[in-house]
């Protein structure tokens, strides 16, 4: 850009401290973003990344510390202030209007209007086309968001920031929803942007990506600032040790599997899609045996959710059969499946897993409230038994909450909500455990414990079906991997013999086998 800067840094957050009742979310954190650099912010869930970004965006006010832009101290009281300072963000979950076109989404909130309130779309289009050519962001301005790929949606979000002339761009875990190829493209785009003088803050916990794209990396752990390193002078091992505070053995300790008879037999299952007229799951067949963990891997949105809905009875099948423990449960109700031995750790804990306004104890019995242990013959709840049961689960599964059994589920942290669900589903003593992204939103310690529990279920002779988007989890936990791509199973891999690269090719649809079933 060739423009003179008053300070070396575009944005500085100096000695930021933000406290919440009972917890210090940010403890004396300093983050300095240079002009034209890509700066990674690394940390586990709960390390304080989100809080720090919320402070930068004016959603929270820090108790201590200052924020400087170009060396000038600034006050950011609300997101509008942040926008005025040229700070833009691509959220992990895109904030786009599905039924609007790309162009409409980009100008939304900053529409160019003429004298009598008419939209001047032609002008906006010119600017958008120019921007997309300059930075290599390919979009079709007239396509509707619902019709375009996730990658293009992300490019739309990036254009939204550029359209507003933002100088400081924040990417919040941008690669979580992308295929490996799209990730490659995004990395190139980020480099282009930085070369043009934009300053980029890249929030991630994926070490390989940070090493590939970032110039420097700041690490947070448990609300504390650990340090900032130049990526060219460090290694992934060093970064991970900084992030976790110890050398983590990401590998899950387990004995070789000892599979028994088939507990879950999925035969030619097809499930309709809610979003479009194609089927989301197409003629999928596989088996899960007693004493093994089978993982369905794939990039988000390739039919995994719908497959689970079909298996657990949340959605009807278009065709196919499901046999559990010798019983045909294709048409069985959700309750029937549950009492016959299927447990389901749902993908979306707020949508399906919990009644947020119920106290924890009521959520602990969500699948079993009708049993004689909890309901008397004439239909009264046995509150004493419920409390005792809930207290036991809290103790055994280390579920932490403010007031124990009577805490409203809404008031609990995401990790503990997830622990409560896992406690409930495992304590039900299922034969088949369907666990959908069971470690989403958990910190490393909790992830380790969930993985241990899954392995323990396997060793106890249960069939475990794990659906995961995390490559590390896919490689480490299961005994067999099935890769799902566009609603079909395109490959079966042995985690001991395959590599992340090979897995990636299957997930991206670049490679496929004719998977033989039975």
């Amino acid at each position: 850009m060739g423009e003179e800067h008053k300070s070396e840094y575009a944005i500085e957050m100096l000695h930021i401290t933000k406290r919440f009742p009972g917890i210090i979310a940010n403890d004396d954190i300093t983050l300095q973003l240079r002009h034209g650099e890509i700066h990674a912010l690394l940390g586990e869930n709960g390390a304080g990344k989100s809080t720090l970004m919320s402070v930068l965006f004016g959603l929270y006010q820090a108790e201590e510390g200052t924020i400087k832009k170009d060396g000038q101290e600034v006050k950011i009281n609300d997101p509008n202030d942040a926008n005025d300072l040229g700070i833009g963000m691509v959220h992990q979950h895109f904030k786009l209007v599905e039924c609007f076109t790309v162009l409409d989404n980009i100008i939304l909130g900053d529409e160019p209007v003429g004298s009598i309130g008419m939209l001047k779309k032609a002008e906006a289009r010119k600017k958008i086309v120019a921007l997309s050519e300059k930075y290599g962001l390919q979009v079709n301005p007239d396509a509707k968001i619902e019709d375009i790929t996730v990658g293009m949606q992300q490019r739309t979000e990036i254009l939204k920031m550029l359209y507003r002339d933002n100088e400081i761009l924040i990417f919040d875990e941008p690669t979580a929803v992308l295929t490996p190829q799209e990730i490659e493209e995004l990395m190139q785009i980020m480099k282009n942007l930085a070369a043009e003088g934009k300053s980029i803050l890249f929030i991630s916990h994926k070490l390989a990506e940070i090493m590939a794209v970032a110039d420097r990396c700041s690490v947070l752990r448990k609300g504390k600032y650990i340090g900032t390193v130049e990526t060219k002078n460090t290694t992934m091992e060093e970064l991970s040790a900084m992030m976790v505070g110890r050398n983590v053995n990401f590998h899950v300790e387990k004995q070789p599997a000892n599979p028994g008879e088939v507990l879950l037999d999925v035969q030619h299952v097809t499930v309709a899609s809610k979003a479009h007229s194609n089927n989301a799951v197409k003629d999928v067949s596989f088996q899960v045996r007693r004493g093994e963990i089978v993982c369905i891997a794939g990039i988000d949105g390739n039919g995994q959710s719908e497959l689970v809905y079909g298996l657990t009875g949340l959605e009807p099948l278009v065709s196919g059969n499901i046999i559990m423990d010798g019983q045909d449960i294709t048409k069985a109700s959700i309750r029937k499946r549950s009492v016959s031995g299927m447990s389901h750790i749902p993908e979306d804990r707020h949508k399906h897993g919990l009644v947020l306004d119920y106290p924890l104890e009521f959520n602990m019995i969500l699948q079993t409230y009708f049993k004689p242990q909890f309901t008397s013959k004439i239909g009264f709840l046995r509150r004493k038994n419920i409390r005792e049961y809930s207290d036991r689960l809290i103790e055994e599964y280390d579920v932490r909450s403010g007031q124990g059994s009577v805490t409203p589920a809404r008031a609990m942290s995401g990790g503990n909500q997830q622990k409560a669900i896992i406690a409930r589903e495992i304590d039900k003593q299922p034969e088949v455990l369907v666990a959908v992204q069971p470690t989403r939103g958990l910190d490393v310690g909790a992830i380790e414990s969930v993985h241990k529990q899954l392995v323990a279920q396997r060793d106890a002779g249960k069939a475990v079906l794990l659906i995961s988007l995390e490559l590390d989890e896919v490689m480490d936990v299961p005994d067999r991997i099935l890769v799902m791509y566009e609603g079909e199973i395109v490959g079966e891999l042995d985690p001991k013999q395959t590599t992340q690269e090979e897995l990636g090719l299957y997930m991206a649809g670049a490679k496929r086998d004719e998977v033989k079933v039975n």
Binding site: T312, I334, Y369
Partner: protein, 365 residues
């Protein structure tokens, strides 16, 4: 202090009280605008209601208020029961009409006794509620839309049916006490407490028992657990294998039954007669909405809020007609009832305020 304020019950009570006070204040201001000289007195009269009468008449007047309060309590129970399950049963008004139709027709045309008439009214209300439930469960028709439409269908059907048992010289149905005394609700001696006002009947204890039963169902039983789970998060209810469609239909059937009972308990006192030419749905069902919210959506709260609303409505007639036209009484009571709908809003504001002051306190430590 803060601890007391955090209690849900205290919050609900305070919110209701604030709404009542704002309502009275606005009513007072309206009167001030129309004619300043009588505003203070008239507002006081609305609040005083029966106390305005001579002591000898007071209990009897209170009795009339009681007679109309009972159906209002049941209507508000009908609303809050479905509301807890996430359904807004605006069809309560129509289910109430269906109950009136059934009980009056059975009493006047068939000469049934009071109990069969009452049960028939319950069934009629339940059936109408069930239709809304079926439409919602199986055709995904919004219960508000079908409820409003069924309100009108119920009204004109009732007008048509009850026209066969009306007086030839007036649009009103026959007096029950002239045609079929056995259909009148027994007073069981309760009338003697209210200056021998025989409009006060077993409806009073019956309604209170029903309110307590509804409270127990919602808070202590498996059914209540299921219904409230469905209301709070229907996806989680489905995930937990609860029979969603059955729960929706059952809820609206119970809700409708309560509304049907409400009508029976008013018309079978003989206090009111049905006007077969009326062209608007009786306001009882709609006032039930205000009473339910003013009562903090709690069955026991509904008893007190319903009494208050009926008290204000009846009090409206004591506005000084030298200064104001008689219709002003309706304006005043409507303003207050309207404000009752803001209870949840006030409660939410209070909660936010408490949370904010806590965050500040937490930050200081």
């Amino acid at each position: 202090m803060r601890k007391v304020l955090k209690n849900e019950g205290v919050q609900a009570f305070l919110a209701s009280l604030i709404c009542i006070l704002i309502g009275l204040l606005i009513g007072y201001i309206v009167l001030l605008f129309i004619n300043p000289s009588g505003a203070g007195d008239s507002t006081l009269n609305v609040i005083k209601n029966f106390l305005y009468k001579k002591p000898a008449r007071q209990m009897k007047e209170l009795g009339n208020t009681m007679a109309k309060t009972m159906p209002l309590i049941l209507c508000s129970l009908s609303i809050l029961f479905s509301y807890k399950v996430g359904l807004f049963n605006i069809g309560t008004a129509g289910q109430y009409v269906a109950g009136a139709c059934a009980s009056l027709y059975a009493a006047l045309a068939w000469g049934w006794g009071w109990l069969p008439c009452m049960l028939f009214a319950i069934v009629a209300g339940a059936l109408l509620g069930g239709i809304t439930g079926l439409l919602k469960a199986y055709c995904n028709v919004n219960e508000v839309i079908s409820g409003i439409m069924l309100n009108w269908i119920a009204l004109y059907t009732t007008n048509t049916i009850l026209a066969t048992v009306k007086e030839s010289t007036s649009p009103y149905t026959h007096y029950i006490d002239k045609v079929n005394k056995s259909a009148l609700l027994p007073t069981a001696g309760i009338d003697s407490l209210f200056g021998n006002n025989n409009n006060v009947t077993i409806a009073v204890p019956l309604t209170i028992i029903v309110a307590i039963v509804i409270w127990i169902i919602l808070s202590k039983t498996k059914l209540g657990y299921e219904l409230k789970a469905t209301g709070n998060n229907k996806n989680a209810a489905k995930y937990a294998g609860m029979a969603q469609n059955r729960n929706i239909i059952l809820t609206l059937v119970i809700s409708g039954a309560l509304a049907g009972l409400a009508a029976s308990l008013l018309y079978q006192t003989g206090y009111m007669r049905w006007e077969c030419t009326q062209s608007s749905v009786p306001s009882m069902g709609f006032n039930g909405i205000a009473a339910a919210f003013l009562g903090g959506l709690h069955p026991i709260g509904a008893i007190f809020s319903s009494f208050f609303i009926q008290h204000i409505t009846d009090g409206g007639q004591y506005v000084n007609t030298n200064f104001y036209s008689p219709q002003i009484s309706d304006v005043i009571s409507s303003v207050i009832i309207y404000l009752c709908g803001f209870v949840l809003f006030i409660k939410l504001t209070m909660k936010k305020w408490i949370a904010k002051s806590e965050e500040k306190k937490g930050a200081k430590n």
